[in-house]
Amino acid sequence: MYGWHGKILCIDLREGKSSTLTLPQEVYGAYIGGKGLAGYLLKERMSLGWQDPDMPLVLMTGPLVNTRAPTSGRMCVMSRSPLTGTLADSSVGGSFGSTLKKAGWDGLVITGQSRELCGIEIRGSQCSLSPARALQGMGVSQARERLEGRASSLIIGPAAENGARLANVVVDSHFFAGRNGLGLVCAAKNLKYITVLGEGKTKVWDPEGLQRAGEDINRLIAASPVLSGDLGLSSFGTGALYDLMDSRRMMPADNFRHTHFPAATEMNAPAYFREYSPKKAGCTGCRIQCKRRSRDKRPMPEFETMSHFSALIGNESRETVVEANRLCTEYGLDTISTGATLGCYAEVTGQELTPDKILGLIEDIAHCRGEGADLALGSAAYAAAQGSPEAAVTVKGQELPAYDPRGAYGMALAYATSTRGGCHLRSYPIVHEILRKPVVTDRFSFAGKARIIKIAEDMNAVVDSLTACKFAFLSATLEEYAKALTAVTGIEYSQQQLLDIGERIYFRERMLNCANGFTASDDDLPERFFTHKGGSFEDLEVPPLDREAFLEARGNYYRIRGLDGEGLPLPKKAKELGLWA
């Protein structure tokens, strides 16, 4: 095989044993890697609970990883979500995926529960378990220092160990496998860390073809103002989006009660740059390099973190945002969910959140103590327990990111249909509704949005299977990446064929969720978006969403996706996609 090694490492933590899984090339060809292949491996067990030892945690790279394909060094982490009960998956950057591939593995499947806290250490083809009692309760950077320095690492922090459903997995000290509480799945297995060392190469079928495809992609990346412009991601990191969201009046403020933050000009990316003069950082094999570190080596907050830890909770101190971000990284907490849960807390209690209060609550959430014990279960559970369920701004139990859906109707529909709950990345309609690529669509209209969302979900399912970075697709398309994939694997792929594969991957996620009881009532938005207006913009008011129009668009989406009126998969469609058992 080219592109793939054809080898997946399976580790049973209960028995302390490992084995090699080899899959036929057809399976690789049909599911590509990353999210597609991880879902294939999980499908039989998706009805198990997340804490069930037999529930696998799958880490899967894709065929482009550890090749010269641009911006393609990522990895998919998948299991079942402790936060939402849906399938859980996350695309993570850093160097773990590339190093795992260098070690000769396409991915890992981890099952069982270790008797005591443990770590997995992979050196090329060798794999061993070691006790991790000494690292118990340790923050991510502290634990990292105790591990093999040259290795790439994946670690959970104390938040996961203490049972927080907002817990992330942290790769290479700074990169999150975020959302859905995946850190807690590791904790349920008594797995504190994984390290990997490797030096091998990935076999490429047609290196020159890959070079050409790479040049096409890089030229598109360079031509994109959002990625490579003076004000874009490559210059200011993802925080570059902050001003834009406020100026379009879709920055969630006061727990989504407003869509504009008066202090935004003081909390934007240039303001952080003036104060912290951060250095560029990013994932292996990427020239965009959208991450930043401060001179004192703290990770700089990304756009969502900047937004939720300022506008959403009424905080005007940049240092508090930087410190909140550091604490979340150190404890392994999802910054979107944590920020949003604090916003919910502020609304429920009517309290103003001072910097000390914010940082104190994060500590409490990470240690599941005091008020933090309830907050660590996420805003939906917290708000319900407080008798104010309406204060939780979540979809399927997951907190919404920093794009107010009243300002972009595609985003409204996309939040509702996402298979992992409140998430912007499944189809990222912000690309056309706000960032104007490849062309602009009317952000205050549902016209045509159902099909756009469906196609974009399929596309991103492919991106997460390759496993490439979604940011590259702010400019490049599957047309160019199909060429790269063909050059790497020697299998002829076209853009449209990849979209067909993406459809199969996404439809299967829908089937798995439905088998676990999810229906149309879960594909919905919190009531406030239909009853309250947002901010105003120049002479334009941001009105509440029209419920009828939303439901009509959702109905259209169901028809296009091959679902019935209740959002359940139609057997005919499942058969057509070869997913009918």
């Binding site: 096409d216 890089n218 030229r219 598109l220 990346i221 360079a222 031509a223 994109s224 103002p225 959002v226 490579s228 412009g229 003076d230 004000l231 874009g232 200011f236 925080g239 570059a240 989006l241 902050y242 001003d243 834009l244 406020d246 100026s247 000009t265 934007n268 990316a269 240039p270 056309h432 706000i434 960032l435 104007r436 690529k437 490849p438 062309v439 602009v440 669509t441 016209a447 045509g448 949005k449 159902a450 099909r451 756009i452 196609i455 399929d458 047309e479 199909a482 076209s494 853009q495 449209q496 064929q497 979209l499 067909d500 459809e503 109905g555 259209n556 028809r559 296009i560």
Partner: protein
């Protein structure tokens, strides 16, 4: 949905890319809507069924594109390789299929976003909006025009022009509108001290540039320096629809709100710094693009094949400098080559791409600058082919 498709069909007709009543444009959400009834929609619906798209455009192009494209389809085997840089960057190459048949169309569209159907027309799709299909269609026309005239120039130098080729050339030339020495009307006079007036002036200038066909579908861009803030057209905005699509970008980069500004923002900014002017216009006039690629060193240069980014020569057409440079800010970005080359009263041509021109106070001088370059390039072209 219907209003969206009607808008792009009428833009296609206004830009003289399709005859009135000829284009078919379909937009699919849960249901498919066409701009009009036609038996051919059945064939096109076959394409909708087979691939993941939401809009599809089919039309025979209007003259002179019709003759040019038919000729290129006949003489290029199955695939046309555009020569201008933007088309190459965004659509790579254009397949040719022999008939309007859903199976063949689908096959070609599985790998490319636009195809040509021999002697019938152009088919292009979008997956986000019908606007994409419109842009692709228009880019195919532009790319074919540039390719035909470029090839003709080469063949005429080599003495290998075929009679049929000459016939197409004459036909195409007969359709060209004359370019005036001066713009037909005076634009709003600057310098502007009132923001609303400045925005109006940008809108007016944008419409003029489009009216003189000095841009193709890749839009071009426009900016004006107002105090310490550069007002510039947004990325993917059309110069004839600028209101609401202009980003204010403070020169001290104290806000990133201009992240949606044109990818040529740094070029505009540095051009204004260099010249001390206030207004910049950038368009893609066809003969400037064609002439920028006519180089006598072809066949004898180690950078050939990478002219658009690595050309080491100091080149010019009738005194207008020609510089290499890619779209955007990459290592070969045109923002590194255009500002050093630009001078007060003279436009600069970017190899295979387009022209930048400036105005000291307003857009009158900049528009005249664009027209001057294009008129001179057209005259020079005709001189070189002996017409």
């Amino acid at each position: 949905m219907k209003d969206i498709i009607d808008k792009y069909v009428s833009k296609l007709e206004q830009a003289e890319l399709a005859e009135p009543g000829q284009a078919l444009l379909g937009f699919l959400d849960a249901d498919l809507v066409w701009n009009r009834e036609d038996p051919q929609t059945e064939i096109l619906e076959g394409v909708f069924e087979r691939i993941n798209i939401n809009s599809l455009l089919f039309s025979p192009p209007r003259e002179p594109y019709r003759s040019i494209i038919s000729y290129l389809c006949r003489t290029n085997e199955g695939r046309i390789l555009p020569e201008d840089c933007e088309t190459r960057t965004f659509i790579h190459d254009i397949p040719v299929v022999p008939s309007l048949d859903p199976e063949r169309l689908t096959q070609a569209l599985r790998t490319r976003k636009a195809v040509m159907v021999q002697d019938r027309g152009i088919v292009a799709y979008g997956w986000v909006s019908p606007e994409q299909a419109y842009i692709l269609y228009s880019s195919v026309c532009f790319a074919c025009f540039v390719k035909f005239f470029s090839d003709y120039l080469q063949d005429s130098k080599n003495g290998s022009v075929a009679p049929e080729q000459r016939e197409v050339l004459h036909k195409a030339l007969s359709y060209l509108d004359p370019l005036p020495e001066e713009p037909d009307a005076e634009l709003e006079r600057g310098p502007f001290r009132d923001k609303a007036r400045m925005i109006r002036a940008m809108d007016e200038a944008g419409k003029m540039v489009v009216g003189y066909k000095l841009v193709d579908s890749f839009f071009g861009n426009i900016s004006y320096l107002y105090g310490d803030t550069l007002y510039i057209s947004q990325t993917s905005s059309s110069l004839d629809e600028l209101i609401g699509h202009i980003d204010p970008c403070p020169l001290d980069n104290s806000s990133c709100a201009g992240i949606t500004a044109s990818s040529e923002l740094p070029a505009h900014r540095d051009i204004l710094r260099k010249t001390g002017h206030l207004a910049v216009l950038h368009g893609h006039p066809k003969f400037s693009v064609i002439m920028s690629m006519d180089c006598d060193k072809r066949g004898d240069c180690d950078k050939e094949g990478e002219c658009f980014r690595r050309c080491p020569e100091q080149r010019e057409v009738r005194g207008y400098p020609v510089v290499p440079g890619e779209v955007g800010t990459g290592p070969f970005g045109l923002c590194r080559t255009v500002p050093p080359a630009i001078e007060e009263d003279k436009g600069v041509i970017v190899y295979g791409h387009g022209v930048f021109a400036t105005g000291a106070r307003d857009f009158n001088q900049a528009l005249r600058g664009l027209l001057d370059v294009e008129r001179n390039c057209r005259e020079e072209y005709l001189r070189r082919i002996g017409e």
